[in-house]
Amino acid sequence: MTETAPGRRLDWQLAQVREIAVETFRVKSLLLQVPGWQGHLSGQHVDIRLTAEDGYQAQRSYSISSPPEDELLTLTVEKVDNGEVSPYLVDDLRAGDQFELRGPIGRYFVWTVATVWPLWLIAGGSCIAPLMAMLRHRARRKARIPALLIYSSRSLEDVIYREELDAMASHDPDLRVVNTLTRKQPTGWAGHRRRIDKELLADACFQPGQNPEIFVCGPTSLVETVSSLLVELGHDPLGIKTERFGPSGAAS
């Protein structure tokens, strides 16, 4: 991927749905063919635009969950009740359908394997999407950079990419995945069962002296809490990159 030359407009492009993957009962991944896609970095997002028969248009932003190495561009979408765009994408869209998108957008919340520092990812719910693009990028490149994902979900059924994450972690001694289930836990669950707190962040995680690159992505309350705790624990605020999703933020 090369940087977009200054002043070059991000034009709307046609995306065709090649496949739809059911991730959880309210989350799907849309695998898109985008002819002429210029490539992206893990962590970036796209704007999509839907057009109704009467000409009404709606735009929203969605994070890319596929790494730059994959042929298809993947967006992972959670259905937001009373939303305008996400219920259409999750319930109505079929393979073969087309819509417009433009991107990639954002050059701050991005990560590549060209780094020496540990990678620390902290996610809540469907906001794991851009962080998954980073883990997939790391896996495709077989990078040995130490990586840790702390992932907060309501229940085991809400854990997106569960099998893929389990498989990644089991084949990779340098990657650790820590799940916490905040509302409902299966019988015999030995993992965490509370919201991400100071103890969880301090316990067996990267220390400030290791200069981890930290990415936090989740609902506003999670990101506010976690990023403040990380600063309290001594991590450099400039080393903590955040994306917050409110009910009508970028994930609606």
Binding site: T4, G7, Q13, A58, E100, T220, P237, E243, S248
Partner: protein, 206 residues
């Protein structure tokens, strides 16, 4: 590009349509107030807060919180538009206009045509002075009558509502006059240099 594809079965789910002259292209109305920041929210105490006005590298004036609060206060009710597509209508903000800051340091005319706003946490954004004078821009300290929350930029944020809201820098601490325009944080990372929502200037090249 090719013809715009129609999304079968997709239609507006908005209960009421916002008048076209209130909602810039590509935006939708929200009633809550999403928080978008690139890093952790700094916790700033007003006792140690200062606001500086700078000409290039030299200090014109620095206000303590108490001094700043003693400046003439202005209240505006207007709409705000975030580049991530949400707009919020009829929001009320109170603070000190850029014009009143200039008056307080005895400047009748701005000495340079551009401003770089610097914030706690290293965030910057650039704005033409013409977009700040005549009541177009202020340093806001109250939202809906209450102190601006830290997550929304409190104790003080820049407020330039006719541009996309990333220009209204949270946690602003220093306004610096510049002779030539330079890109700030998002402006150097692919976002539009000026950011007029009515021209949908979201990204570089728009």
């Amino acid at each position: 590009m090719a013809e715009t594809p129609i999304s079968r079965g997709f239609k507006s789910r908005r209960a009421e349509q916002t008048p076209k002259d209130r909602l810039p292209p590509g935006q939708y109305v929200t009633t809550d107030f999403p928080v978008l920041s690139a890093g952790p929210t700094p916790q700033i105490k007003v006792e140690s807060w200062t606001l500086a006005l700078q000409l290039h590298g030299s200090l014109l004036r620095k206000w303590s919180w108490a001094e700043f609060e003693a400046l003439p206060q202005t209240t505006v009710k207007t709409d705000i538009h975030c580049v991530t597509k949400w707009s919020k209508l009829d929001t009320t903000w109170q603070g000190v206009t850029f014009g009143d800051l200039l008056k307080a340091v005895g400047l009748t005319d701005p000495p340079e045509p551009y401003i770089m706003a610097h914030s706690d946490g290293g965030y910057t954004t650039n704005i033409p002075v013409a977009d700040l004078v005549d009541g177009k821009g202020m340093i806001a300290t109250r939202y809906e009558g209450l102190p601006v929350l830290p997550s929304h930029g409190g104790p003080a944020r820049l407020f330039v509502p006719h541009l996309y809201f990333w220009k209204s820098a949270k946690w602003v601490r220093r306004l610096q006059f510049m002779e030539t325009d330079e890109g700030g944080f998002w402006e150097s990372l692919g976002y539009h240099n000026y950011g007029d929502p009515w021209k949908e200037q979201r990204y570089d090249g728009d």
